[in-house]
């Protein structure tokens, strides 16, 4: 590790030194000197593994025999995997919409209010927690202990889950959040939304603040109400940011793995593509199928990335 870092530093130093020694370097030399290492890194770290993964997806579990599209056929036809793909779809639809929606509304609500900084810090804090950490926190929130029949109150198991304790205070029966499908997937999604809403809020808040004051004033003079201000002025003005936020969160969501693995391990019908990929490749030794799942994930993400990059370019042009 230390060796690798030293080697990298040395190589970069050499390149930079070489470039600085050239008098009036040609443009392409400069470009190659600076972009070259990054391109090489990408080739070794991304393109090469991607190609081998694609190749592996057409081979059997051990990677010895070519079996055509059998892995894809399995991944797309078997009940268990359809469930996984379905869950991933639910995640990708709900998480970006909910996080962005909550983030946007929150940003508008706290904008220029007295407690803006404090309020923003509150919703941004979860961003600072790792996915696994957040999952463990929420696992406690969801913890379930049954109410046992015929057992006196003193000997009932103690609820340690906050949500179930609240339900009991309100006179309800404790509910096993993580066990019962399909709702358990929604309860996992809550965790991701909790983390991502802060990110959406930050970007959108900055974007809202960038709306020129004269536009807002003009609208006020025209006598718009709050809803009209929101739908005709704010949303259209921050539209490019909205798209970037939506697609960025969507990409993050497609890769979701930590939350599912930490909270349910993919049990009880909550598995998603990334989790299933890990399970198939590393736990069950089915590399072909794992690779096929990874490729499917890649194919779904691809249009999102393209759209995201184009939107970012657009935003920059506007500036």
């Amino acid at each position: 590790m230390v060796f690798a870092v030293a080697l990298f530093a040395a190589a970069m130093g050499l390149i930079l030194f070489g470039v600085s020694r050239l008098k009036r370097p040609r443009k392409w030399v400069l470009a190659a000197a600076f972009v070259g290492p990054a391109v090489l890194g990408l080739l070794f770290g991304l393109v090469y593994p991607a190609l081998t993964t694609i190749k592996a997806s057409f081979y059997d579990a051990k990677g010895n025999n070519f079996i055509g599209v059998d892995n894809y056929a399995r991944a797309l036809s078997e009940d268990a995997f359809q469930k996984v793909l379905g869950n991933t779809a639910i995640w990708v639809i709900l998480v970006p919409l909910l996080s962005t929606g909550i983030g946007l509304v929150y940003a508008i609500l706290v904008d220029r209010s007295k407690f803006e900084k404090f309020a923003k810090a509150l919703i941004f804090l979860p961003m600072a927690i790792s996915m696994v950490g957040a999952s463990i926190i929420w696992k406690f929130m969801y913890d379930y202990k049954a109410v046992l029949e015929n057992v006196p109150a003193a000997r009932q198991p103690k609820q340690i889950g906050l949500l179930n304790q609240v339900i009991i205070w309100m006179g309800g029966e404790p509910y096993n959040f993580l066990l019962n499908g399909p709702w358990n997937t929604l309860f996992l999604i809550v965790v991701m939304v909790w983390i991502q809403a802060g990110f959406a809020m930050t970007i959108l808040s900055a974007s809202i603040k960038a709306i020129p004051d004269d536009i807002i004033e003009a609208a006020r003079l025209d006598g718009v109400n709050a809803w009209q201000m929101f739908s005709h002025i704010t949303v259209p003005s921050v539209r490019p940011s909205l798209v970037v936020v939506l697609t960025t969160i969507a990409m993050g969501t497609l890769k979701v793995f930590d939350i599912v693995r930490t909270m349910t391990g993919g049990q009880f019908g909550t598995s998603v593509v990334a989790n299933e990929f890990y399970t198939q490749s590393f736990r069950q030794g089915n590399e072909g199928l794992g690779a096929a799942l990874a490729v499917i994930l890649f194919i779904i993400i691809l249009p999102l990335i393209v759209y995201n990059v184009r939107q970012m370019k657009k935003t920059e042009e506007v500036r």
Binding site: A61, K62, E78, D79, A80, Y144, K145, A146, L148, E149, N150, V151, P152, R155, P157, N176, L178, L179, G181, R261, G265, G266, Q267, F268, G269, Y278, T279, F282, R283, Q284, G285, N286
Partner: protein, 460 residues
């Protein structure tokens, strides 16, 4: 199913860093005062390994704190007599990470593999990574282990890995004190076991107690205790021959023999009157961790009276629980259909080498020797560890349950079978077998659907 270590590894995580630190501190003290049956100077048995001063052997296992301390301590005699240093790394993601390490060319010198199925996968997929057992190891295994144990460490005729620890799975935990108080006797047949369950229900059902408690939760490995149940019952209802064929899929999962066994498991696990003492309904078995599963059994007024779990469950009882034939908790043999049929289900882990160096060969041989087995027994004063090594002196096992396990493992009249899911292909044994048994309990999926789903996933 799951290995003994992995399971306990998870308990360990709950116990956390604090305990890890305090244990580390304790072991330091021990070393100064009484420790080394080793350093006491007798290095004669170690001379065969030669002088290994300055050499290092790395060990990679699924055994993490606090279970790792006895392991690390048990290497001391070897380290002190030969001069070699053993570096120990335990990981809860062992099974997955071992393959990653091998693939990336960073395999450990020695790995403790808890599943013969995993050993077979490695031997077949990475034939160059695995080193056949060293001469000394072969000599020790031939001398101190029964041939069946050697066969579990053998792939396609090449012997790779020597048995390390062992455990008995066909155990039902109970409270001797409660049994005596209620006048219950230990059942010797399946029917007696069911009759006992009914009696417990009649006696204590009104207090909210159930005859059985259970838990199959184990993180991403959730489901393994349920596969153990089915394996135990296949051995009982269909016998060893069918069991062996079942492992290779000659007998299909959806065949009548397996269906019958699953129905028998269902008599207990899916009977809402019988389960799940202290935790709720049938579905609660799926969300109760296996470590917690049996705990309601040792309370003053128990909410359950019976808990089928392996010998290593001894480590999970709360501190102060007396594990003995007259104490708070003990185990009896899970009965067969008749008193004469006594098949035994068990498991264990195996030490495989990935480096062909003299010190690695020596250490592997040491692990198969009576010296190590006795050192390990002495380094585990709290109990919860046995091995099938005939050189292990039972006197060194302090816990009565370990002694009972050692007796059963050494009893050749009982037909011993290794844990089946550990021998099946990983896609089944560590995949659908776990997940489908979980669905069977969590979602009340019916027997036929569960078995045909597992069968469908068998690699073609």
């Amino acid at each position: 199913m799951r290995s003994f270590n992995k399971g306990r590894a998870i308990t360990a995580s709950v116990v956390g860093l604090g305990l890890a630190l305090s244990l580390a501190a304790c072991s330091d003290d021990d070393n100064k005062s009484e420790e080394p049956g080793a350093a006491s100077g007798d290095c004669a048995a170690y001379e065969q390994y030669g002088d290994l001063k300055g050499k290092t052997v790395s060990v990679y296992t699924s055994i993490v704190t606090p279970e790792d301390t006895p392991h690390i301590d048990s290497y001391k005699p070897f380290e002190e007599c030969t001069g070699a240093k053993i570096t120990y790394e335990g990981s809860k993601e062992f099974e997955a990470q071992l393959l990653v390490k091998i693939k990336s060319g960073a395999a450990p010198d020695i790995a403790y593999i808890p599943q013969p199925g995993l050993l077979e996968t490695i031997a077949k997929d990475y034939p160059d990574a695995l080193v056949p057992a060293s001469e000394g190891t072969v000599a020790n295994v031939d001398k101190y282990y029964s041939p069946s144990w050697k066969s579990y460490g053998t792939v396609d005729g090449t012997f790779y890995a020597a048995p390390l620890g062992a455990n008995v799975k066909s155990f039902v935990w109970y409270s001797p004190k409660q049994f005596e108080k209620n006048g219950y006797t230990i059942p010797t047949t399946w029917d007696e076991l069911i009759a006992l369950s009914d009696k417990i229900l009649a006696d204590h059902g009104a207090e909210g107690a159930k005859p059985w408690c259970a838990g199959i939760g184990s993180g991403e490995a959730t489901g393994w205790p349920a596969t153990d149940w089915l394996e135990d019952l296949v051995l009982r209802t269909a016998g060893g021959d069918v069991y062996d064929k079942w492992l290779t899929n000659e007998v299909k999962f959806d065949s009548p023999e397996i269906k019958e066994a699953l129905a028998k498991v269902g008599e207990i696990l899916k009977n809402p009157d019988y389960v799940n003492g202290g935790y709720g309904d049938v579905a609660s078995i799926a969300t109760t961790t296996f470590q917690d599963g049996g705990l309601p059994l040792v309370e003053d007024e128990p909410l359950c009276y019976l808990h089928r779990q392996a010998s290593f469950y001894a480590a999970n009882w709360p501190e102060g629980t007396e594990v003995s034939e007259t104490g708070d908790a003990f185990a009896f043999y899970l009965p067969g259909l008749t008193a004469d049929e006594r098949p035994l289900l068990g498991g264990g882990e195996f030490a495989a080498a990935f480096s062909d160096r003299p010190e690695v060969a020596a250490f592997q041989a040491f692990l198969a020797s009576p010296e190590w087995n006795n050192a390990k027994a002495k380094a585990t004063p709290a109990g919860g560890w046995v091995s099938a090594n005939s050189g292990l002196d039972p006197e060194n096992l302090v816990s009565p349950i370990d002694k009972l396990a050692a007796t059963l493992l050494g009893d050749t009249t009982q037909e011993f079978r290794f844990d089946g899911s550990d021998l099946m292909p990983a896609a089944v044994g560590q995949g659908t077998f776990w997940t489908e048994m979980t669905s069977w309990l969590a979602e009340d999926k019916d027997d036929a659907a569960v078995l045909s789903a597992i069968q469908a996933s068998w690699p073609k």
